[in-house]
Every structure is written in structure tokens, then in C-alpha cells.
């Protein structure tokens, strides 16, 4: 006999003046291999077509469906109901502007973050279409890819105590991105340049080391290591700035 699951879903439509924030309950019979992507779409198709939520690739690749599932930020598409109790509470990710119900505006947040940390390869070299690519050790390429696997789902921000207290905190996602550029030989920025973008309380020095980010990262990116790496480099840079004649 399959279970009947109770879903408590956060409902609020900010553009509807009659809408009041609150939890709404739905019931759905559990079927084999059910995940939250399928369950939420059934609820929308059959019970309430107005529920707002975000899915895109539904394969754990694009990062669209981050939400708080029974108190823990995660990707809904790859959350199997078999791993959940009879009652499932679903809330939008905190730290992002609400679009409606479970849908939040991660696009604006990440764009602003990428602008702030100048998230692109900085180089004086012009691209020459006639030239062969610059050689790179494959181990370096694989190391960069490891950090590039971040899908900007927002779970690390939702799980971060600093980000919840401080709206301008850049979060583990930004520190991981900076670490990625630090190990990329194509990026010609030095520690001084990185210090300018993350050597602050909005950046690496705002991190309290609680590491909720590492616990919830759906891509299992070693965020703890990246935070430590960036903190160490930026810490030295901070000390260097105190020395006479150094910048």
C-alpha cells in the first residue's frame, strides 16, 4: 500500500493584492520512483494550476529548482519522495527576492554577484584566431572544472548564516568562483586584485565558518577547502598591506 503524502507548500503571490503569505496543504498518493519534480507538476496539473515553482533541466544540471525541503535547501528535481517522511514542507529559498510561492529571483542575485567579483578571465593578451591554444596541464584543467561545476542554484546562500544576516554577503558561491580564477593560469589577476573584490566583510572575512554551504551543496563541491584557500591567500594579502611600502 503506497503512502499518501501531505505537502505543505508556501503560497504567496506578491502581485495579487488579495494574496496573503501562508502554508497550503495538498495530498498526493506516492507512486514508484516519485520525485518532487513529478509530484509538484502533478499537483499543478490536477489540483492547483496557479502554484509557482521553477524547474528547467529536471536533471540536476541547471540549478533552477533550489528550495527548502523539510528545512534543508536542496534541488527538488532530484529529491525522491521515498527519502522523505509522510509530511513534506516546501519553502522558497531565503536570501533571494520572492517571485511567488516557491519561485525566487536567483537571476538578478547571481548577475550582481558576478559583476561585483568581476567573474571573468582578466588578461592583456588579445585573442588571435590564427594561433594555437595555450597549453595547459590536464590536471589543472580538471581542477578548474571541479570548481566550475557550481550550478548557482543558491542552496549555499540559503544555508549561510552570514548571508541571512547581511544582504550584501557574497557567499560561498563567490569564494569558490574566485578560487577557480586563482588556479587558472589564464587569469592574470594577482592577490592584490582579488583582495579588492573579496578581501572584505562582504567577501571572505564575513564567513563565520559554519559551513552550512558545504553541507547542502548538491554538486558536492569542496567549498570548505575553497573558503580556507581564499581566506589564507587574502589573510596574507591583508597582512602585506599593513607592512610599510607594500600595497
Amino acid at each position: 500500500m503506497s503512502r499518501k503524502l501531505k505537502y505543505s507548500i508556501f503560497r504567496y503571490n506578491p502581485v495579487d493584492p488579495d494574496s496573503k503569505p501562508g502554508m497550503q496543504e495538498f495530498f498526493l498518493q506516492e507512486t514508484e520512483n516519485l520525485n518532487l519534480f513529478v509530484a509538484l507538476n502533478i499537483l499543478r496539473e490536477v489540483q492547483d494550476p496557479s502554484i509557482q515553482f521553477d524547474f528547467c533541466c529536471r536533471a540536476g544540471i541547471c540549478g533552477a529548482c533550489g528550495m527548502v525541503i523539510n528545512g534543508r535547501p536542496g534541488l527538488a528535481c532530484r529529491t525522491k519522495t521515498a527519502d522523505l517522511p509522510d509530511q513534506v514542507s516546501l519553502l522558497p529559498l531565503p536570501g533571494f527576492r520572492l517571485v511567488g510561492d516557491l519561485s525566487v529571483d536567483t537571476g538578478s542575485w547571481f548577475r550582481a554577484m558576478n559583476e561585483k567579483i568581476r567573474s571573468w578571465v582578466h588578461t592583456d593578451k588579445e585573442f588571435d584566431p590564427q594561433e594555437q591554444e595555450v597549453c595547459m596541464d590536464n590536471r589543472v584543467a580538471e581542477k578548474i572544472y571541479e570548481l566550475d561545476r557550481c550550478i548557482e542554484c543558491g542552496c549555499c546562500i540559503a544555508a549561510c548564516a552570514t548571508a541571512q544576516m547581511r544582504v550584501d554577503f557574497l557567499g560561498a558561491v563567490a569564494m569558490n568562483r574566485i578560487a577557480r580564477f586563482m588556479i587558472d593560469p589564464r587569469d592574470k589577476r594577482g592577490h592584490k586584485d582579488y583582495f579588492e573584490v573579496v578581501g572584505t566583510d562582504q567577501g571572505i572575512f564575513g564567513c563565520m565558518g559554519l559551513l552550512g554551504c558545504q553541507d547542502v551543496c548538491p554538486k558536492n563541491i569542496p567549498l570548505q577547502d575553497q573558503l580556507a584557500y581564499v581566506r589564507r591567500k587574502m589573510g596574507w594579502q591583508a597582512l602585506r598591506r599593513l607592512m610599510p611600502g607594500q600595497a
Partner: protein, 603 residues
């Protein structure tokens, strides 16, 4: 009337859209990209295995060059492609990939020395020479003569999209995400922009632009089972078709990928087979060598999908509650290879199937994957029918894929076409001004607002989701891998009926704000029209070519059908008007044998 003006409006912010946008922004033009989702969530991010570019760096790619890539692409297309475009594509792919490298993509590199690899089930050895160390390497893919698919593990699309979006940020390309273009603003000759619905608030806006690009990806979601992201519902093709003057090319050319997983239809990359994975049947025996002795699992996708379908029809599939399937076996590649080179596949298997691919078999079957058809353009990316309208990427029918796209050629197309079409748009913008007729803009806004008002006020009518599901089921049942006149007639008749019923949609929700049901209700009639272009085009094409396999016309007919279908939709009709043009004007390689797939040819 709320109006946003820009030089270039890109509808879509995946790899193709942003690559074009960057070209325009670098030339100093103001550029706005519209996107249903934040740009980094575009379906480009889901491309896994690789990007084809003839670099010839790795030992198994030795001797590769654009000419060999060209031959593979033309054969892969079953001579359906425009050979002039295919030539431009292969010549520019090495430049495009090196530019992506310059922008920060962490391509896998050649490692000198001996290493083992698998072909079919067999373990072989290769030795990479010292002088190529550190250059971009490649893996094997289907339908190619050399190893040419350059890759970042099996997250290549993601690993390209992030650096490209970084460059877009650097050059100030604006991305207005969570917006949906509902219609193009045009006067029958010139495109002037689009009417756009904000998916955060539900508000309508007019975007006016000197040039407009459609780069919104494919339309796989008109099928019930598709590897595509849920946003791939053909929005760009719909607004082009709705103009009545812009034709869609080869809409019947729909690709089914051999390895969608069962259930959930999520893709596992062709790289699995490229790296030596095999397909097994219910007896856990390889069957592809029996159908394709030479290429086996690495024949082109259309061929492998057909063989799998036939093999299951012979009762050799594996029964499951979700229908028959076959097995993909990558166990012999070893845990280390899987966790480094097939990382997404590893995650997908564990998270969605609950299996460990290093120890267990992966259930797969052919699944709708790619739309070769789309907005028909010339070689510069300019759409037929409207000046100032362009298209690139999967949304377009440029047309380098013809009737079957090779694996790794779509990722490559996004950035190569983006580069070439981007340059052409820059030239166009340098010499092109528009005069604005505010009445025209106001009318188009009003027309779309009235559609919304009608949907929100109707008291009784058809349920939106029911009709969408009906359309999807019709395509699944009658317009699949194998096609015939009877099924296609049924599909056309039933889709016409569904189209009529979409004129009477009723919302169950209020429709206020970013209401998702309203968004689908606005899109659905257009989706059914796309479905009709596919089904009707397939019915009329009385031959088999690439992915279009007619049981009643099994031969490729170069005598009568070496042509591209052009589908236009004149207002108030319930079927597209089909016209045909030669598949290619320039012929470098005359039609011949593909070297796989068998089948007769009428010449």
C-alpha cells in the same frame, strides 16, 4: 505603453544567443537578451559529451582537419544539409573553440604517454606523443572518422556557458530573464522587435530593436518524452511562424537520441559509447554489431535509434513498468574513468535511477532529443521573409545538420554560428535604421493583451493541461522514429482537432501575475501549430532521409526529395503551407553512401 529600445534584441540567452550578443556588444551596440530563465540555466547547460572541432591534437584524432569534419557532417545529415553552411561551420569551429579556451573554458588536455581505452567492449592501448601535451584533447563520438569531440568531463555545455556568460557580463550585455516573447512586431517586411510578457509580474512590454535574433533553442517538449529541458517548447519558432511570412525549415527532421534513461527521459551522453560503452539487450548481449558491423554503437544517432527500436520490436527489449528498454553498459570503463570523465552520468544514475553505473547496467531507450528544423535563415543567419530578423543555434535551420545532426555538432554550432551570425548582425546594424510606427507597436501590444483578457475572462472551455497532453501523446503515438502514411494522416487529423479546441481554452487559475497556467495557455496554440508542421511535413515527405524514416518509402530519394521543406502559416488556416527549395546550391560532395545505416537510394 511601456517600451524598451535597444540596437539588438536576442530572444534567448543560451550559448548561441549570448555569443551573438557578445559580438554586437564588443562592436559597441546596446544588446538586450530575453530569457525564460536566468541565462546560466539555459538548456545549453545540459549539453554533456562534447563540442566537435577538428583540432587533431590527440593521437586518435591524428590527421583530422576541417575537410574530414565536413565529410562526416554531410554524411551525417544524409545529404540534407546546406553544404556551403557546413563548410563555413567546419572551417570556423577550431577558431571558435580556441576562443572559448581564451575565455576560460577548462577543456580536457592531451596527456603524453601510454593509456588504455575501450572500443566496443574491447580494451586497447594508445600512446599520446610528447609534443602535443597540454593541447585540447578529444573523445570519440558517433558518425565521425576521427576523435573530435572536445570536452570538459561530461559537463561540456555547462563548462562553456558559464565562461561565455562571464564575457557577456564583462561587455555589459543585459539579460532580462524571466521574460517571454509573445509575438514579433513587424510590418510584413521588417522586424521591429517583440511584445514580451514579464514572467515575474505578468506585465506586457514592447521591445523595439534595429535587429532581432531568435536563439531560443529547440521545441522537443511538444513530445511527451524528451531529453529537453521543460522550457524547450518552441517559443522562438512559434513567434516566427505566427508572422505568416517567415518559414520554418525541415520541421519533420526530429532527432531521437539512443540513450535517454528509463524512466524520466534524462539524457546520458553519447560520450558513454564514445568512451567504449556498449548497448545490450534482454539477454545482456551486444546487438549493434549485428546491425552495423563496422560502426556498431558509434553509427549516427538516427541509425542507432532505429536499430534499438527494431531490436525491441523483435522482443529483445527488457520489460519494465515504463515500457521496454535496452541496457547501456559502461561498467568495464571502470570507476575512476566514470567519476572523472563521465561525472554527470555517474550523478544522474545515482540520483535518478538509484544505480551505480560502475557496477550496474543503465536502462535506456531512444528519446526525442534535438530539433534539426527551425527558423529558416540564409548562410548569414538572416531569416527568410523579414528584414532585421535573424536566428542562430538550435532555434534556426541554418542548415548544417540536414536530417541528422552528429553528436557534438550542436554545441559547436552554437558558438560558431554565434560568431558568424554575430558579425553579420554587426554589419547590418552599422547600416540599418528603422522608422517606428507607434500605431503598429500599440496594435501588437493590444492584440496580445486581448488574448490574455479573453483567456482570463472565459467561463467555460477546454483545460490547458489536457490539451497539451493530448498533443504530446499524438506525436508520441504517430510521429516517432518510424513513420507511415496512415499514422501521419491520423496525427494531422487529430492535431487539427486539438488546434481548433485551443481556440477555447479556459484557465482554472485567476491568471494574475506570473501565473504559469496562463503562460502555457498563451503558448499552446503555437505549440500545436509546430506539431502540425512536424506531422504534415513528415506526411508529405515521401522518402526516408536521416532521422525521417518512412516505412512506406524506405529509400532515400535524391531524385525527388533532395530538398528542404519550408513551412509557412498563413493567417486563419489550420495547416501550414509547404514549399520546397534545393537542399544545397553548392555541392562539394555529391549524394552517396553514408557508410552506415544501409537503406536504398533512388538517384
Amino acid at each position: 505603453m511601456r517600451v524598451i529600445y535597444t540596437d539588438l534584441l536576442c530572444i534567448g540567452a543560451g550559448l548561441a544567443g549570448e555569443r551573438v550578443a557578445i559580438e554586437a556588444a564588443q562592436a559597441g551596440f546596446e544588446t538586450v537578451c530575453l530569457s525564460l530563465v536566468p541565462s546560466r540555466r539555459s538548456h545549453s547547460s545540459a549539453a554533456q559529451g562534447g563540442m566537435q572541432a577538428a583540432l587533431g591534437n590527440c593521437i586518435k584524432g591524428h590527421g583530422d582537419c576541417p575537410d574530414v569534419h565536413f565529410q562526416d557532417t554531410v554524411k551525417g545529415s544524409d545529404w540534407g544539409c546546406d553544404q556551403e553552411v557546413a563548410r563555413m561551420f567546419v572551417d570556423n569551429a577550431p577558431v571558435a573553440i580556441r576562443q572559448m579556451d581564451y575565455w576560460g573554458v577548462p577543456w580536457n588536455r592531451v596527456v603524453a604517454g601510454r593509456s588504455c581505452y575501450y572500443k566496443g567492449g574491447e580494451r586497447l592501448e594508445k600512446e599520446e606523443p610528447l609534443e602535443k601535451t597540454g593541447l585540447i584533447t578529444a573523445r570519440d563520438f558517433g558518425g565521425t572518422a576521427r576523435w573530435r569531440a572536445c570536452f570538459c568531463s561530461d559537463g561540456t555545455g555547462h563548462a562553456m556557458l558559464y565562461p561565455l556568460d562571464n564575457v557577456a557580463v564583462k561587455y555589459g550585455v543585459q539579460v532580462h530573464d524571466r521574460t517571454e516573447a509573445l509575438s514579433l512586431i513587424h510590418n510584413g517586411e521588417q522586424c521591429l522587435g517583440a511584445v514580451v510578457r514579464c514572467l515575474k509580474t505578468g506585465r506586457l512590454l514592447a521591445y523595439l530593436a534595429r535587429a532581432t535574433l531568435i536563439a531560443s533553442g529547440g521545441f522537443g517538449r511538444i513530445y511527451r518524452a524528451s531529453t529537453n529541458a521543460v522550457i524547450n517548447e518552441g517559443g522562438g519558432q512559434i513567434i516566427a511562424l505566427d508572422t505568416g511570412v517567415v518559414p520554418l525549415g525541415n520541421m519533420e527532421a526530429v532527432q531521437f537520441h539512443p540513450t535517454g534513461i528509463v524512466p524520466t527521459d534524462i539524457l546520458v551522453t553519447e560520450g558513454c559509447r564514445g568512451d567504449g560503452g556498449t548497448l545490450l539487450d534482454v539477454k545482456q548481449e551486444r546487438f549493434m554489431p549485428g546491425y552495423e558491423p563496422e560502426k556498431a554503437e558509434l553509427a549516427s544517432r538516427d541509425v542507432v535509434s532505429r536499430c534499438m527500436h527494431e531490436h525491441m520490436a523483435r522482443g529483445l527489449g527488457v520489460k519494465s513498468p515504463y515500457g521496454d528498454h535496452l541496457w547501456l553498459d559502461i561498467r568495464h570503463l571502470g570507476r575512476e574513468h566514470i567519476s572523472v570523465k563521465l561525472r554527470e552520468v555517474d550523478e544522474i544514475c545515482k540520483n535518478f535511477l538509484g544505480i551505480d553505473p560502475a557496477e550496474q547496467l543503465i536502462p535506456v531507450r531512444p528519446t526525442q532529443h534535438y530539433s534539426m528544423g527551425g527558423v529558416r535563415t540564409d548562410k548569414n543567419g538572416a531569416a527568410y521573409g523579414l528584414k532585421g530578423l535573424f536566428s542562430a543555434g538550435e532555434a534556426a535551420c541554418w542548415d548544417m545538420h540536414g536530417f541528422n545532426r552528429l553528436g557534438g555538432n550542436s554545441l559547436s554550432e552554437t558558438v560558431v554560428a554565434g560568431m558568424i551570425v554575430g558579425r553579420k548582425i554587426v554589419e547590418f546594424l552599422q547600416g540599418h535604421e528603422i522608422s517606428l510606427n507607434t500605431g503598429l507597436v500599440r496594435n501588437e501590444l493590444k492584440k496580445q493583451q486581448e488574448r490574455i483578457n479573453r483567456l482570463m475572462s472565459r467561463d467555460s472551455g477546454e483545460r490547458v493541461y489536457d490539451l497539451r497532453n493530448r498533443m504530446q501523446d499524438i506525436l508520441m503515438d504517430y510521429v516517432g522514429i518510424f513513420r507511415n502514411e496512415k499514422d501521419l494522416n491520423t496525427a494531422v487529423d487529430e492535431l487539427r482537432e486539438v488546434l481548433h479546441r485551443t481556440g477555447n481554452l479556459k484557465l482554472s487559475s485567476s491568471g494574475t501575475g506570473a501565473d504559469p497556467e496562463l503562460a502555457l495557455a498563451l503558448r499552446l496554440p503555437g505549440m500545436v501549430r509546430l506539431a502540425l508542421c512536424v506531422a504534415y511535413g513528415a506526411l508529405e515527405r515521401r522518402e526516408s532521409r536521416g532521422s525521417h524514416a518512412r516505412q512506406d518509402y524506405p529509400a532515400r530519394n535524391d531524385r525527388d526529395w533532395l530538398v528542404r521543406t519550408l513551412a509557412c502559416w498563413p493567417e486563419s488556416r489550420d495547416l501550414p503551407r509547404l514549399e520546397y527549395e534545393p537542399a544545397t546550391r553548392i555541392v562539394e560532395i555529391p549524394p552517396g553512401d553514408r557508410g552506415y545505416g544501409g537503406g536504398g537510394v533512388i538517384s
